[in-house]
Structures are given as C-alpha cells and as structure tokens.
C-alpha cells in the first residue's frame, strides 16, 4: 500500500456528535450529487432540485402524500431496526408487506360486509398476522436449521409477489375487471379514513407514530429490548449472560414482519382500496435505508422516512415537470445510504495527518 499523507486512527470513544451529524452530511452529499447529476443531464440544476425537493410540498395534497408514503416506510423500518440492532438481518420486508396486504385484503374482500363496524380492526390484525407469519419462516429456519435469514427472507419476497399475482389472476380476480389482475374494490366500511379532506394520508400515519413511541419504549425501557441490544453489540457478553439467541431471532423477525404486514394492509385498505399486482414501489427495500439513515432510532426513523418519502415524491415530480425518469429516486436512495455508511466511519475513526518520508 502506498504511504498516504493521512491515516485512520480509532477514536478513544465513538463520537456522539458524528452519530447525529452523519445522516445530515449524507443528505448534503446526496444533494450535491443530485446537483451534478441534473447538470450532467442538461437540466438547470437549481431548478431541477427545486422541482425535486420543494415543488411536491407546495400544496396540502402534497403534504398528505408526504405523510402517506412515509407511513409504510417508517412502519417497515421501525420493525427492521429492532432486528438490525440485534444483528438479525431481515431484508424481506417487501415480502412481509405483500403477505400483510394479501391477508388483510383477503379479509376485506370476503368478510368486509359481514364484519360491519369490526371490519377495520380485524383487517389490520390479519395484515399484521400475515406479515408475521411470513417472517416466521426465516425465523424458524434460522433457529432450527441455522439458515441465513438474509437469503431466506429475500427469496420469500419473490414468492410472496408471485403468490399475489397467482391470486389476482385466479380466484381473487374482479370478474368485472376486464381481466386486469386486480380484485374488486373494497367496501367502504373496510377503508381507512383519511386525516383531512383534499389529501390522501390516512389514520395509518398517527398509528405509525404511536408504534414508533412504543418501539422506543421497547428498546430503551424493556429488558427484552436491552437483551437484543446486547446480543447485537456484544454477542459473547450476551451468551455469557445467558440471553437466549433464539428468542431474539424470533422476536426480531415476528416484530419486523408484523410491522411490515401492517404497512402492507394499510396501503391496500388505504390509498389503493383493492388488491392489485403492484402494491408497493419497493417500500420494504427502501425501509432498509430508512432504518440506517434513522440511526436505528425510532425518532430518527420517522424523520428519515419523511426524507425518503420526499425522494419518491421528487422522482414523480421531475418525471412530470422535467421529463426525467422517476427511477432517479432509486439512484438517490442508494447514494444516500452509501454516503451515510461512509460518513459513519467518522463515528469511530478520525483522520490524522502525517508527514510522509519521501522515498
């Protein structure tokens, strides 16, 4: 390795300032990169960034969309963070979200009218159960057969999406839907009410905030949360203390699966109003980024979800306003996580300048 004019040096203690500053640095670096990307694409960068980040928020409807898209992102991320803290890597939230939508949507479709006023609670619980059941598969395989939950949960994403497609092409298809792969629209009593007229955000948003508070309580006030934290940061200490690793894996996957399932069902009985083939533009995957950008902390996750939601809105906005592909959202998402991971280096390390002897 050639001698560099600086070297990395471990800080005596992790920097608390950097832990909070890193996401902000990452967001700033993402903006700068966005500036460059737009300039390279021949769009006036300041204007393009305005269209991307400001224009979506110039109406009540726009703010509603911000909360609407932040809700599933935050729900999934809150669950994932519980696992990530304990070194349990559920990356299949997208699949658990899909199963939540299938189970909750199935109840809405077939029992919606019969359940009457009870419909919504039952549907939400069915969604949570569906997501948790889907996450139970990697939990069982990891605790029983030592199988990587990363790969299993990811494979289950594809299986879940195919299962949804199967149902929508077959038994659950709307007979009057012109052969579109979608179910018939849900009945009114099964639809989550919106927060305000003139926008689409539903009561799922305050529900998400409540769950964020609960998850904060779980990880900072309950012994179960503490056990999981220790298992993640010091597995040897956790083993010595007799903390049960299996229980952590189960807990992390069931909680994150349930949260993702709730996110899925809130989408289909919320803004979508029926089951259809595409119910999520990758919320379950973007939630991984949200969890990290939010420092695996509930408050941070809610803020990061709002930022990520804005990235989705910005993508749609530049597609309409500047004829750029909405896929620019995915690009920004990936960049944000890269920058965050790089900035995180300075939590534990610092650069020390040194004189290099010229050979």
């Amino acid at each position: 390795m050639p001698e560099l004019p600086w070297r990395l040096e471990r800080r005596p203690e992790p920097s608390k300032v950097m832990r909070v500053a890193a996401p902000l640095i990452a967001a700033a670096a993402m903006l700068v990169t966005g500036f460059v990307i737009f300039a390279v694409l021949g769009k006036e960068p300041v204007n393009a960034l305005t269209v991307f980040f400001v224009e979506p928020l110039t109406s009540v409807y726009g703010w509603g969309e911000l909360l609407l898209k932040a809700t599933p992102l935050a729900l999934c991320a809150l669950g994932l963070a519980i696992g990530f803290r304990a070194n349990v890597w559920n990356i299949g939230a997208e699949g658990q979200l899909t199963l939540g939508a299938i189970c909750g949507g199935g109840v809405a479709l077939f029992f919606g009218v019969k359940l009457g006023a009870l419909a919504l609670p039952v549907i939400l619980v069915a969604g949570i159960a569906g997501g948790a059941a889907w996450a139970a598969i990697p939990a069982y395989l990891r605790t029983r057969f030592n199988t990587s939950e990363i790969l299993v949960s990811l494979m289950l994403v594809y299986i879940a999406q195919l299962l949804l497609a199967y149902l929508l092409h077959g038994a659950w298809r709307d007979p009057e839907g012109f052969n579109f792969p979608q179910s018939k629209a849900f009945d009114d009593n099964t639809i989550l009410p919106t927060l305000l007229d003139g926008q689409r955000a539903t009561w799922a948003f305050p529900l998400m905030l409540l769950l964020a508070a609960l998850s904060w309580g779980f990880s900072s006030r309950l012994f179960a949360g503490y056990r999981m934290l220790v298992s993640g940061q010091a597995p040897a200490a956790a083993a010595y203390a007799g903390f049960n690793e299996r229980r952590n894996v189960w807990l992390a996957l069931l909680l994150s699966g349930g949260a993702a399932g709730l996110a899925g069902v809130c989408e289909v009985v919320g803004p979508i109003g029926r089951l259809q083939a595409d119910i999520s533009p990758g919320y379950g995957f973007a939630a991984i980024i949200v969890a990290f950008v939010g420092r695996l902390h509930p408050l941070g996750i809610v803020l990061a979800a709002l930022l990520m939601s804005l990235l989705y809105l910005g993508g749609e906005s530049v597609q309409l306003g500047l004829q750029l592909p909405a896929a620019v959202t995915g690009l920004f998402q990936g960049l944000l996580l890269f920058y965050l991971l790089a900035a995180d280096l300075f939590v534990n390390f610092r650069f020390r300048w040194q004189h290099v002897a010229v050979a």
Binding site: Y158, L337, L341
Partner: protein
C-alpha cells in the same frame, strides 16, 4: 419424450446456469478473501445494462461484454472502498450496492427499453459439433458458456495450487496473521472484490444479451441472490458451485417446460420453484452447522484494520 426434446432441456439447463456460475464463482473468490458482498444483484444489473447499451450502440458484443466487466468492477470498487478501506458494515454496504444498482440501471436504462439486440451467437466447435448426440449436447454453445467452464478450472486451480490462492485463503481465514506475516491484506481483498465485480458484470451481460436479449428493469429477478445462496450451498468450493448452478438451471428450465409435460399447475406457482429450491437447498446444507463452520472463511464479513 424424444431425444431432441431431452437435448433442448439439457442445453437449456446449461444456458440458464451460466450467469449463476459467473456470479457465484466471483462471489466465492471475494468471500474466500473474507469479504461478503451482498451487492451481486446490483452489480449484475449494472453489468446487464452496460453490456446491452454498448452492444446496441456499437453493434459489438465484445465491447458490450468489456463494458459489463468495467461496470461491474466500478460497482465493486465502490463497495471495496467502503468496506475494505473505510470498514463499513459489509451487510449494510452490500444491500446499499444492490439498491443503488437497481436504481442506477433503471434510471440509465430508460432509453434502452424495448430495443432489439442481435444477441450472442453460438460458437459450434468445428469437428466436434457433428458428433451425434454429444455434438448438439456439448459443442454448440455460445462462447460465454465455454468461458464459464474455463473460469471454473482457472479459479479451482488458482485457489488450491498457487501462491496467490494460498494468500487469498490466508487473508480470508485470518487477516491479522496474514498481515503479521507481511501479506497485503487490503490489496488482496480489493482484488478479490473487483474480480467478483467483473464476473458479476459478465453474468449480467449474459442475461441481457443471451438469455433474454433485451433490457427491462430488474432483469436479473433475484439471480444475484441465488448466486449468493449457491456459494453457501457449495460450502465455498468451486466444483460444487458448478454443480449447484446446473441444478438450479435445471429447476428453472423444467419449470418452463412443465406445461409441456401436461402439468396443469399455474405459471405463477411454477415460477416460485427456483426461489423455493434456493430455500430448500440452504436448509439442507446449513442444517449441519459443523459443515458451515468448517468451510466458511473464518473472517467472512468482518472488517480488518491493521491497527486494531
């Protein structure tokens, strides 16, 4: 069932296995150096787009494959800088690489949606191709298929019979001891990760120019992840990567031909097969934790910093 149909199934299996072989062998090399790169899917997608875009624009598949190799290596370079030099968490960074690759390829690929491409041509080996049965079965593939077998022989040989391979394995088993013995841990890991990027790029190129000669978003459909599972299935041994890839190729092709056998299973259910098979195979291999402990590179997934 006639011989021609059987030959079609077997050759189809080989073709379906080829991208998995490239991606999994590259990942195997990276993992043997101790670096777990979960970004295979992202590198494949970017490689697939690069190959497609360059092939369509220049009309040259060779340039297309070169572009795919460069694109895959550039993606791997980002990963290596972050994980090897800046010591970020390998799992998180790999996920980021996949998400970034998905976004980048979808974004850049807009112009190329729906364009036709000539695709890679078979390269029947002269003389051998006319042998009855064995000719069509073994000697009428495209160059990338022969290349994948060659790559297996090279990697197997280098890992077990050369000094470079020994250093690579030493770095993967115990970076601190390798470092103390004066071996270049950081460079080795960089090269291994870049190699993985190059082969993932080729795997992607094969998808977009040979298997399905076109570009669509998310073209790889989880094959990068299946390649990762294959490395575990292979217990980090190249020969078993080869066998595993053919097994998966077979599952994929049988699923395509299932309707031909008169099975009336809905296509969505059949499409689940490769993913279900991946899970089943992982369970079978990982059930015995001793096998994994004995074969998995000891430092897999752990950062290395010379001062620490």
């Amino acid at each position: 069932m006639n011989a021609e149909f059987l030959i079609a199934i077997i050759t189809g299996t080989v073709v379906a296995a080829t991208p998995l072989i490239y991606a999994a062998l590259g990942e195997l090399v990276a993992e043997r150096s101790g670096v777990l790169n979960l970004g295979v899917e992202g590198m494949m997608l970017v490689g697939a787009l690069a190959a497609f875009a360059v092939s369509v624009s220049t009309g040259s598949l060779v340039l297309g494959y070169l572009a795919a190799v460069c694109a895959g290596m550039l993606m791997a370079l980002i990963f290596a800088v972050l994980t090897v030099s800046l010591q970020t968490n390998q799992v998180a960074t790999g996920l980021a690489l996949t998400l970034f690759g998905l976004g980048l390829s979808a974004f850049m690929g807009r112009k190329f949606l729906g364009l036709p491409i000539a695709g890679i041509h078979a390269l029947p080996l002269p003389g051998l191709r006319d042998i009855p049965i064995a000719g069509p079965l073994l000697f009428r593939f495209d160059p990338a298929v022969y290349g994948s077998i060659l790559l297996y022989f090279i990697i197997d040989r280098v890992l077990t019979r050369t000094r470079i391979g020994l250093i690579l394995r030493a770095v993967g088993e115990s970076p601190s001891i390798a470092h103390a013995l004066g071996q270049p841990v950081i460079q080795t890991r960089y090269l291994a990760v870049l190699f993985g990027g190059a082969t993932s790029g080729i795997a992607g190129a094969y998808l977009s120019t040979a298997m399905t000669p076109m570009w669509v978003e998310g073209l790889s459909a989880g094959r990068g992840w299946i390649a990762l599972a294959l490395v575990v299935f292979a217990t980090w041994k190249p020969l078993r990567v080869l066998l595993g890839a053919y097994l998966f190729g077979g599952v994929t092709i049988l699923q395509l031909h299932a309707q031909g056998f008169g099975l009336s299973v809905p296509s969505e259910i059949l499409s689940m097969l490769p993913y279900v098979a991946t899970i089943v195979v992982l369970v079978v291999i990982c059930r015995d934790s001793k096998t994994i402990r004995l074969n998995q590179p000891a430092s897999l997934g752990k950062s290395f910093h010379p001062d620490v």
